[in-house]
Subunit: 230 residues, 2 copies
DNA sequence: AATCCGCCGCTTGTATACAATATTTCTTGC
DNA sequence: GCAAGAAATATTGTATACAAGCGGCGGATT
C-alpha cells in the first residue's frame, strides 16, 4: 500500500509532521498500542529524528500518544471504560453549546441550522453513512459556533480528534441514522424556541445515546479479537 | 557536569524542564506576552536548547504558550473574554463531577467530603486566604475523584493549570470566602442527599460566581494598566 | 529629507554525533 | 535444563554544529 519505500519526497505537501502522524493514527494506519519508532518514522518522512520527536511530544500533549520515559512513544490504547468517560465529557460540552445556542441564536443562525438539518435529512435519505457523518458533523459544528464560546469550540475539537477514529464507526447502522435525525430535530426545535435547558438535555442525551451504542460496539470488537492482552 | 556559568543553583531537583518553565509562568515570573528565548532559558537551566524546545512545544500543546512559526514562543496572553469562556467550561465540567458524585458517593466518600469541608471552614476562620485556597482545592478535588470519571478529572486538571495563575487572585476577599463556604455547604448537602441535578446546579453557580467576580477583577486590572495594547 | 533596497546579525529549525539507559540475548553456574 | 548475571545491542535523550528566515540598520537614490 505504501509505496514510499525510502525518502522519495514523501511529505512534499505535508505542512508539518504532527498532522501527518496524527493522520496515520486517525486513519488507523497506526493502531492503538503500536510503538512509534523514531528512526523508522524519520526514514519514512525523509527527515531527521529531531522533528519527529517534536511531533511525538506534541501528540503526547494532545493525548493521542503516550510516552514512557526511556521506553518510547505508543499510540494510546483507549480502553472501553476511558472511552465512555470521554464521551460523557463530550456530551456535557456539546450540551453546553446547545444551551448557549438556544440563548443566543439569531434568526440567521436558526436559518443556518435549518439548512444543516436539511442537509442531514438529505444525507439520511441517500443512505450513505459517510455523507451523513459529515452532514451530522456540520450540524453539530454550527451549534458550537452559535454557542459563541470559542474556547469551548476549540476544546471540543481537541476531544473530537481523540474520538474521531472510533466515532466514524458508529453511524453505520441505518436505524441509528434515523434516530439521530429525529434527535437533531428535537435539538433544533428547542434551540429555535429558545429553551436552553431543553436544548441542553436533548443534546446531552443525543450524544449519550451515541455513547451507549458505541460502547456496545467497542465491547463487541474487543470481545471478538480478544488477542490484545498487553 | 553541571557547569552553568551564571548558575543560581537552578534545577538540581527539577524532574523535567516542562514543569520548571510551567512554574515560572504560573507563579508569574514569566508574564503573559513575554517572549521565551530558547538560549536564555537553556543557559539558565544549564542545559542545551534541545530539551528547552521540547518543553516549549509541550507547553504550547497544553495551551500555556503560543508559538509563532519562525518567531518564537510567547506566554499566552489570555484576554478577559477568553478567560470567561474558560471559566464557563470549567463550571460545566465541575458541575458534571458534582452530578456524578451525587449519584455515586458512598458513605466513606461523604465522610471524606465532610472532612474537606471542615478543613475549609477552619481555613476560612483562620482568615488566611492562601490556606483557604488549598483547602478549597482539596474539596473540589475530592468531588472530582468521587465523580469517578478519570478522564474528566484529568481534563479539569489541565484546564485548571491554565486558570491557576489567575485563580489564585480571586479568593482574596474575605466576604467571598464566606460565600464560597456556604456554597460548598449547599453542594455537599445535595451530594449527600443524592440529588444529582441540585448538586450540579450548585456547583455550576459556585464556579460561575467565581467567574463573574473574577472577570470583574481582571477587567479592573486591565483597565488600570491600560498599557498593553497589542 | 524621506523612502526604499540590501546587508548583517540574531533566532529558530534541522541534522548529526554522542551519551545514557532499557532490553535482549548469550553464557555460565547450579 | 533452568536461572541469573553480564555483555551486547538498540533506542531514547542530549548536545553541538549547521542551515534558513526574519528583523533591524544603514546607505543610496529620488
Amino acid at each position: 500500500m505504501r509505496k514510499d519505500t525510502k525518502g522519495d519526497m514523501v511529505t512534499t505537501d505535508t505542512p508539518n509532521l504532527r498532522d501527518a502522524i496524527e493522520d496515520r493514527i486517525l486513519t488507523g494506519a497506526l493502531r492503538p498500542g503500536a510503538r512509534l519508532d523514531e528512526v523508522s518514522l524519520a526514514q519514512e518522512f525523509g527527515v531527521s529524528r529531531t522533528p519527529i520527536r517534536q511531533a511525538l511530544f506534541q501528540l503526547a500533549a494532545t493525548g493521542l500518544v503516550e510516552q514512557f520515559p526511556r521506553r518510547g512513544a505508543f499510540v494510546v490504547d483507549t480502553g472501553p471504560a476511558r472511552l465512555r468517560e470521554m464521551f460523557e465529557v463530550m456530551a456535557e460540552l456539546e450540551a453546553l453549546c446547545a444551551r448557549n445556542a438556544a440563548r443566543r441564536a439569531s434568526q440567521a443562525d436558526l436559518q443556518t441550522l435549518e439548512e444543516c438539518h436539511e442537509a442531514c435529512r438529505i444525507a439520511a435519505d441517500s443512505g450513505d453513512s459517510d455523507t451523513y457523518y459529515y452532514a451530522n458533523e456540520a450540524f453539530h459544528d454550527a451549534i458550537r459556533v452559535i454557542g459563541g464560546n470559542g474556547f469551548l469550540h476549540q476544546e471540543i475539537g481537541r476531544l473530537q480528534k481523540r474520538l474521531q477514529a472510533f466515532r466514524r464507526l458508529q453511524l453505520r447502522a441505518r436505524a441509528r441514522i434515523g434516530a439521530s435525525l429525529r434527535e437533531h430535530a428535537a435539538i433544533l426545535a428547542a434551540i429555535g424556541a429558545g429553551q436552553s435547558a431543553e436544548a441542553a438535555d436533548a443534546m446531552r442525551s443525543h450524544v449519550a445515546i451515541q455513547n451507549e451504542q458505541f460502547t456496545d460496539l467497542i465491547a463487541t470488537l474487543q470481545r471478538n479479537k480478544s488477542s490484545s492482552a498487553a
